[in-house]
Every structure is written in C-alpha cells, then in structure tokens.
C-alpha cells in the first residue's frame, strides 16, 4: 500500500527528472533488484555497463542529503536506469 508521503515524494522526483529532459518510461510495480525495498535506490545493469547519468544521479541525490542505495541487476538493460522510490527507512 502506497503512503501519501511516498506518492508525494515520488511525484516530485519524477517531475524533476522529467523537467531535466528525461523520459520516464513507466510506473512499473516491481522491486527491480532493489532487495532492501526502503528509501531511494538506483539500479543499473552492472558496475561496468550503465549510463553515466546513474552515477551523477546517485551523487547528486546524496549530496542533497538523501540516502540513496545503488544496486545492480542483470535484468536491467544497459541503457536503462531504474529509480526505486520506496517508503522511508
């Protein structure tokens, strides 16, 4: 069940990402390899194969004071970043 805090924060983040010129493909209900399921997560295919923007996204969010966990999942396409917005830890 989604909380209003989660919904509001997710909407804000998606809005920012869209405003930056990125296409948010879909709102998929899936863990996407982010096993912890709490807080913010950025999931990419692997440490070697991932868009450079993923590192910037993690670093920028971290510098802004948000706790972000980076994770890998071989099911994620190379050119894709999965941004997981989960309930607060």
């Amino acid at each position: 069940m989604r909380s209003s805090e989660l919904d509001t924060f997710a909407d804000e983040l998606v809005e920012v990402v869209k405003e930056a010129g990125w296409r948010v493909e879909s709102d998929v209900v899936a863990l996407a390899g982010f096993e912890k399921g709490l807080g913010l997560g950025v999931v990419v295919r692997s440490q070697q194969e991932h868009p450079a923007i993923a590192d910037i996204l993690v670093n920028t969010l971290t510098n802004l004071g948000f706790k972000v966990e980076a994770d890998t999942n071989s099911r994620v396409p190379t050119n894709e970043i999965r941004l997981v917005i989960a309930p607060k830890p």
Binding site: M1, R2, E5, L6, T8, F9, A10, E12, L13, V14, V16, V17, E19, A20, G21, W22, R23, V24, E25, S26, D27, V28, V29, A30, L31, A32, F34, G37, V43, P51, A52, I53, I56, L57, T60, L61, N63, L64, F66, N79, E80, I81, R82, L83, V84, I85, A86, P87, K88
Partner: protein, 132 residues
C-alpha cells in the same frame, strides 16, 4: 496520544522522589518541544508534542532519570550537559527521520541542472519503479 504518555511517565518520576510543589512560575513557548526552565529548584516539566513512540519515550525518561541521579551524587555539570546534548541530538535525528521527504526549490534546481547536461548529450531513458 504518545506524547501524553511521555508526560505522564516524567511526572510519575517527579512524584516518586518527593511530593512536588505546584509550579510557582508559568511560562509558555512555541514549538514542538518547548522546555521552559526558569528555576533550578522544584519540578521541571518537559512537554513534548512531537510524535514519539513509547520505546523512545522510555529511553529518554531513563536517560533523564540517570542524569538526575548522577547529578545528585557527583554534581558533574559537564557530564550532565554532555548527556543532555546527546538527548537533544537523538531527538533531532528522530524528528528529522519522521519528516516527509521533500525537494526544496533549490534542491530541484540542483538536480535538474545535474541531470539536464546528460539528457542533452544522449540517452534519455529512465524507468521509474515505485514500490507499492
């Protein structure tokens, strides 16, 4: 409801030590946690209207009680200050953890600026997975 429990426990400790006099000085301040301490004698009552779970409240009461006991035995003001600072830090972190996540306008601008550079230079593909 929980802050009320916190107040009751504190009051119980005060009463257990001695029959407390009614506060002779009344003062008010604003804010979620507003201690008014105008005298170093008698009963001091902390009213904290922030959301605190029972476990946290018990820990705080326990710490305060230990501080009071130590102060009586050793009269170590610096140690008491240190403990109080620890409590304040704990409360601040606890309150911060309960605040809803939110992007300020400045944070939005920073994030947009960081992400815009790469959005213009190539891949514009991002999947958003919201956990339900």
């Amino acid at each position: 409801m929980k802050p009320v429990c916190f107040l009751i426990v504190l009051t119980t400790i005060a009463y257990a030590q001695q029959a407390p006099p009614k506060p002779s000085i009344q003062a008010e301040s604003s804010g979620k946690c507003s201690p008014n301490i105008l005298s170093n004698q008698g009963t001091v009552r902390f009213t904290c209207n922030a959301a605190i779970d029972k476990g946290t409240a018990t820990k705080i009461v326990s710490l305060l009680y230990q501080i009071l006991q130590k102060q009586g035995k050793e009269n170590g003001a610096s140690e008491v200050d240190q403990k109080l600072d620890e409590i304040l830090g704990f409360l601040r972190n606890d309150a911060q953890a309960r605040e809803p996540r939110h992007f300020t306008d400045a944070q939005k601008r920073t994030l947009i600026a960081a992400l815009s550079v790469h959005a213009k230079s190539g891949c514009k593909h991002l999947t958003h997975n919201a956990l339900l």
